[in-house]
């Protein structure tokens, strides 16, 4: 039975489903990376994902436009991000709790809107798979890497983009400086608040896109609390990835693939209790961090509100 795990079907299955499962994490974690690198801890990711998922689903369902749905998610995410940015930048709210507040609000609001505007569980025709010509025909590889829908491709494409923006642009430089030493950035005329507004709004947009990737690309359905904790894992993956896009990619893939591995273990009927299988992704994620020797430090100003001359 265990040997079944090493068949090509299973390996291809694990990797390709790992890639799919990683998609919402990538969006949310990359967004969270930006806000954390600039010094803002956003624990409201899950709420933003749910709102994004709902907005995208609603537009896709009622107006039949998937890209309209994506746009709706972006807008809703931006509004949520704006609110979070205002509360943490201007009102100096403790970010740990205000994030939980936004989570609760998003959780409730998405469900309320769902009940009032849609009513019952429905499905939409989500983004279709795009088979990249020739590449998708390569046995194994094609199925793993080149047979996904557009939001999956975008998510993975955003990893190098995020790395590039953080490390090669003036904006990235400001973000890193603001998260590390806001006073220094401020003294050079960098608007700490503006940078943080940008990153937190961007984080909101990305979380919402992560939600949209679930509701109109991967699952094509909306249900209350459909993310069920995914947003919190996304935050955890930021720590796993050491605030670096590539590390986050590694973490998201690891977590997702082990999750998919545990699905296969159950499907193949390997006799271990399902609960033990379900624990695997969590245990492994911790273990990898324990044995890895990397000693990354987080942004020094993380979750400290900025006040000039403070």
């Amino acid at each position: 039975m265990i040997s079944d795990l090493f068949s090509t079907t299973v390996i291809i299955g694990i990797i390709s489903s790992g890639i799919r499962l990683a998609t919402p994490y990538l969006y949310a974690s990359l967004g969270e990376t930006f806000s954390q690198r600039s010094g803002v801890l956003n624990l409201g990711v899950e709420g933003q994902m749910l709102m994004g998922a709902f907005a995208a689903f609603y537009v896709a369902l009622k107006f039949g436009s998937l890209w309209g749905g994506v746009l709706a998610a972006i807008l809703v995410g931006a509004v949520f991000g704006l609110a979070m940015a205002f509360v943490s930048n201007n009102l100096h709210a403790a970010q740990g709790i205000s994030g939980i507040g936004f989570y609760l609000f998003g959780l409730g609001m998405s469900n309320l809107l769902f009940q009032k505007m849609i009513g019952t569980v429905e499905t939409v025709q989500g983004f279709p798979k795009i088979y990249i010509p020739f590449l998708s025909d390569i046995p194994g590889i094609g199925e793993i890497f080149f047979s996904h829908n557009i939001l999956v491709y975008i998510a993975f494409f955003l990893v190098p983009v995020a790395w590039f923006v953080l490390n090669k642009t003036t904006l990235g430089l400001k973000i890193r400086a603001v998260g590390e030493n806001p006073d220094a950035a401020d003294s050079l005329g960098v608007s700490v608040i503006r940078v943080r507004y940008f990153t937190v709004i961007f984080g909101g947009v990305m979380s919402a896109l992560g939600g949209a990737s679930l509701s109109i690309a991967l699952l094509n359905v909306f249900q209350q609390n459909m993310t069920s904790g995914l947003g919190f894992i996304a935050v955890a993956l930021v720590y796993f990835g050491g605030w670096r896009p590539w590390g986050i990619l590694g973490g998201a893939l690891l977590f997702s693939m082990v999750n998919s591995l545990q699905l296969w273990i159950q499907v193949l009927g390997i006799p271990i209790p399902s609960e033990i299988a379900l624990m695997m992704p969590y245990i492994l994620t911790i273990l990898v961090l324990v044995v890895s020797t990397s000693k990354v430090r987080g942004p020094s100003a993380l979750s400290k509100p900025f006040e000039r001359g403070d």
Binding site: K168, L171, L173, A177, N181, A184, D186, L188, G189
Partner: protein, 539 residues
């Protein structure tokens, strides 16, 4: 007003003569600030009146020094000028026009640059990145670090500020970090530059280099504000000097018309005596001994290698060296803050290698750390809590796990009194004390235990003259009481004034240990630069 004595468009050249400035734009293309005036600035903080209706001005082509004890309100005034604090009252004029400076951005736009007392550098970024931060990039959205690096090297050449643009800030010594701060300001083409205690962390050579830069800038038409606690520096570099005390302006004078003694008196309110030399004390047996001690440094450069030293009871061993030559590492290995990679350390007859700081406290080793804000105090703890930081678990401060607030309070009162720590109350948080008073707090805690050995790292850095003299007197007192003292300092005057013997450290190695008689400034200076005079002579 004094400022009227000084005609516009002039600078003081090295012959102390005024010379006309030709153009009203600076070399950087920035328009000159002919005149900046601060009128009636008042700033209140909870519990403190930091600035009390202060008038101050500076003109193109002059260095206006600002003097005052720790906490007199110098930095506060400058931060108001730079838009970091908002004044409660008062106005600022540039070229006779009133300006509102609400943020550093406004200050930069008005041509004001500032080198902060506590560096404003992002440790995790490179030199070039720190300089490029906030600048418009020639490549639009992309950073143009290559170009910035090139310009840094150009500027560094002009003003003789050697620096590697690709180095990370955390890899640099404080002296080097200071240069980055200056480059940052020069790069932005400020016309008025505020230098808040720039020399506190520099070696005498570095200070000379900085002064050369400042003279050049004055010649070019810059207006400079210079803050320092070292009177001879003020005398040497400034055209005018203003003294603050307790948030008030006490005086403004042409420097040429004042003396060190005047300045000191205005600052402190009474005369002070300077320690210039000291009498011999009775040197006893070896108390602190290092045998071939090595350690790693944490900025990727060399660490300590094979350091052997002996300090006797009743002796002060000065460790001279240019900043960044493992002085920090030396202090930290002895005090258990850093692991050794080899060698042995003894306190009296007992080996103390690898003991934790707590165990060393038990053995009466005291440490006055260089980074007092990082290591020495807990900013958000009260004065009382900081006073017992080292012995919080011991009687009488604690019994069977419980803190005894009465005893702690009594002890704190006593030390505040004895060491003249200026604080509103013992419940005041350490972060609200001025730098000098924080150092007094540390000193009180470390010395009041009657330690057997003291490691004092840069104990007077950033302190006003009164406080510095006080700290030095206390160290001499401890020497008299029989403690073995290691005095690590980059201030050669201090080393010469206090040490019985002088060891010179260079790149983690002890170059030589000299007795007072052997140690001349030239000899020590050469050793600090890594040159062995004897070998040179024999070669």
């Amino acid at each position: 007003m004094i400022s009227e004595v000084l005609p516009d468009f002039r600078y003081l050249d090295s012959n102390k003569e005024y010379v006309m400035v030709k153009s009203n734009t600076l070399p950087s293309g920035q328009t000159r600030i002919d005149n900046m005036e601060i009128c009636g600035i008042t700033k209140r903080f909870p519990g403190v009146l930091a600035n009390d209706h202060i008038d101050f001005d500076v003109k193109s082509g002059e260095v206006h020094a600002l003097l005052g004890e720790n906490g007199a309100g110098k930095s506060t005034l400058m931060k108001i000028l730079y838009g970091i604090y908002h004044p409660d009252e008062g106005e600022i004029f540039i070229n006779q026009k009133p300006v509102t400076i609400n943020s550093p951005m406004d200050a930069i736009k008005s041509g004001i640059g500032m080198i902060h007392q506590h560096f404003m550098l992002v440790q995790t970024l490179t030199v070039a990145e720190n300089v490029a931060l906030g600048l418009l990039s020639s490549r639009g959205l992309l950073t143009d670090l290559d170009r910035v690096s090139k310009r840094i090297i150009e500027l560094a050449d002009i003003y003789n500020l050697k620096i590697d643009p690709d180095a990370y800030i955390w890899q640099l010594s404080v002296g080097q970090q200071q240069r980055v701060e200056i480059i940052k300001a020069l790069y932005r083409g400020a016309a008025l530059l505020i230098l808040d205690e720039p020399t506190a962390v520099l070696t005498p050579q570095e200070v000379e280099e900085l002064f050369a830069i400042m003279r050049q800038m004055v010649k070019d038409g810059y207006a400079l504000i210079f803050i320092s606690h070292k009177l001879h520096e003020v005398i040497e570099i400034s055209n005018r000097v203003t003294v603050l005390r307790n948030g008030k302006r006490i005086s403004t004078h042409l420097t040429s018309e004042t003396t060190k003694e005047d300045l000191a008196r205005w600052m402190v309110g009474h005369d002070i005596e300077f320690i210039t030399s000291h009498e011999k004390s009775n040197v006893g047996e070896v108390l602190l001994k290092l045998e071939n001690v090595s350690c790693n440094s944490d900025n990727g450069r060399h660490g300590l290698s094979d350091v052997s030293l002996e300090i006797h009871s009743g002796e002060i061993l000065g460790i001279a060296g240019v900043s960044g030559n493992c002085q920090l590492e030396l202090a930290e290995t002895i005090t258990g803050m850093r692991k050794t990679t080899g060698g042995h350390i003894y306190l009296g007859p007992d080996e103390i290698t690898g003991l934790a700081p707590g165990e060393l406290t038990e053995r009466m080793l005291s440490y006055i750390p260089e980074e007092r804000m990082r290591d020495g105090v807990i900013r958000n703890f009260s004065v009382a809590e900081n006073m017992i930081l080292r012995e919080h678990h011991k009687s009488p401060y604690s019994r069977s796990g419980f803190l005894r607030l009465k005893d702690i309070s009594a002890h704190t009162d006593e030390l505040i009194e004895q060491f003249q720590v200026k604080t509103p109350s013992q419940a005041t948080l350490a972060k609200n004390l001025s730098g000098g008073n924080i150092q007094k707090l540390v000193l009180a805690r470390e010395i009041s235990r009657n330690p057997r050995a003291i490691i004092a790292a840069q104990p007077t850095r950033g302190l006003d003259i009164g406080a510095s003299e006080y700290v030095r007197a206390q160290l001499l007192e401890q020497r008299k009481a029989g403690a073995a003292i290691m005095l690590i300092s980059e201030d050669l005057d201090e080393i010469f004034a206090l040490s019985d013997r002088i060891a010179v450290i260079y790149e983690g190695k002890i170059m030589d240990v000299l007795t007072c008689e052997e140690a001349t400034r030239e000899r020590v200076g050469l050793l600090m630069a890594g040159v062995h005079p004897k070998k040179k002579a024999s070669a």
